[in-house]
């Protein structure tokens, strides 16, 4: 059976792409170091396939058609968009998909009882997928199963659905008749308010950040569920803060155990999550 060998949560802040160019400025050194830590862990765990959980930023999905969760079932993916190349200086990339694992997650005989998954067979991945991959696996040589969680266009799915997603992913991976070593790479934010009243002014809600870091550090899934069940509370922490729940999906996938590494790194933009669960 396949094995879930690692899960990680990173930021996907696309402003880092220009700002962290060589030489990395002093204030961003800790972020570069934490990306390197996760990059080294993925290499050390000899990962074969990456399930990449992110949130499309109103590029692929819009209010004409806004699913809660989408699993990519394409054979390959184009990465990034014209506006992201212009605004963030990102580079177009090509990524291989992994249909076999995608079918284990949501195939014709897979009927999960706790979550409903939509699918996409034609999907251009935005920075939420491309940026973490470029820092964590710059070779871009591992096949991916991308998963979109709607954390950007309210109404959003509840935190319990994110937990169900993580638990379902673990079940699907462990049920898969394969010797593949699978990792879950999620990305999102701590408190984050891009476009809101506290745009790019440091963390908009340090209290939330502190609690949200402790849920990962202590393996406190119930604590995360209790606070994140209140959408208004997360909105008050910033209009894009709900993307933190992608890390909650990773925590649930790892059985709610404390992260082996949990650090929230301050930066000039906001605070950046780095959480890692390994098996080596």
């Amino acid at each position: 059976m396949a094995e879930l060998v690692l899960a990680a949560a990173t930021p996907h802040n696309p402003l880092l792409w220009r700002a962290m160019n060589d030489p990395v400025p002093d204030d961003l050194q800790p972020i570069a170091a934490n990306f390197a830590r996760i990059r080294e862990a993925v290499a050390a765990h000899e990962v074969d396939v990456l399930v990449v959980i992110g949130t499309d930023h109103v590029r692929q999905f819009f209010y004409d058609n806004s699913p809660a969760f989408v699993v990519g079932k394409a054979e390959s993916y184009h990465g990034t968009w014209e506006n992201e190349v212009r605004t963030f200086g990102m580079e177009y990339v090509e990524l291989a998909g992994h249909r076999e694992l995608a079918d284990e997650i949501t195939g014709r005989t897979v009927l999960p009882e706790t979550i409903d998954l939509a699918v996409s067979l034609e999907w251009r991945l935005d920075h939420s997928y491309v940026i973490p991959l470029q820092y964590v696996r710059p070779e871009l040589d591992l096949p991916v199963v991308p998963i979109h969680t709607n954390a950007s266009m309210p109404p959003v799915p509840s935190v319990r659905r994110f937990v169900a997603l993580g638990e379902h992913l673990r079940d699907a991976i462990e049920r898969w008749d394969s010797d593949a070593r699978v990792a879950i790479l999620t990305s999102g934010h701590m408190a984050n308010d891009v476009g809101g009243p506290r745009t790019f002014a440091g963390s908009p809600d340090p209290d939330f950040d502190e609690a949200a870091a402790s849920w990962m550090r202590d393996g406190d899934l119930e604590g995360a569920i209790r606070v994140c069940s209140d959408f208004q509370r997360l909105l008050e922490a910033g209009c894009m803060t709900y993307q933190y729940l992608n890390a909650v999906a990773a925590l649930a996938a790892m059985g709610g155990r404390p992260a082996d590494f949990a650090e929230v790194t301050p930066s000039r933009f906001a605070s950046s999550p780095f959480f890692l669960w390994g098996s080596r």
């Binding site: 109103v58 014209e82 506006n83 891009v194 476009g195 809101g196 009243p197």
Partner: protein, 115 residues
């Protein structure tokens, strides 16, 4: 209440370099031309209607007004960046635009942007 169409126009401009260039050259003309378009007989329903206040806010590149009218904050910031960055100078660039934007929206607090 046309928040959906406000967001749709923002997206129609911001996603494309050519659309940004056209809009920057003639904001009012582009918004009026876009409003006159439609899905046609083979497309889904596509009633592009903005209130006069929304239309005028786009014609004036007025991010303060668009925020008040309920534009999606994330979309609005990147739209603002796209349609003002050609005006950056050595003394007033990205950071100054962020400050102007934040000063315009902060007094308004959290606006209901859900269409």
């Amino acid at each position: 209440m046309s928040k959906y169409i406000v967001d749709k126009f923002i997206r129609a401009v911001e996603l494309s370099d050519a659309a940004v260039a056209a809009y920057v050259a003639d904001p009012g003309g582009v918004v009026d031309a876009w409003l006159a378009g439609g899905g046609g007989p083979t497309g889904p329903s596509d009633d592009r209607q903005l209130t006069p206040a929304e239309r005028d806010a786009f014609a004036a590149r007025d991010f303060e007004a668009l925020y008040a009218l309920g534009a999606h904050p994330y979309l609005l910031w990147h739209f603002t960046e796209a349609v003002y960055e050609h005006e950056y100078t050595p003394d007033s660039g990205w950071r100054e635009l962020v400050e102007r934007y934040r000063a315009a929206v902060a007094p308004q607090g959290i606006v209901d942007y859900i269409p």
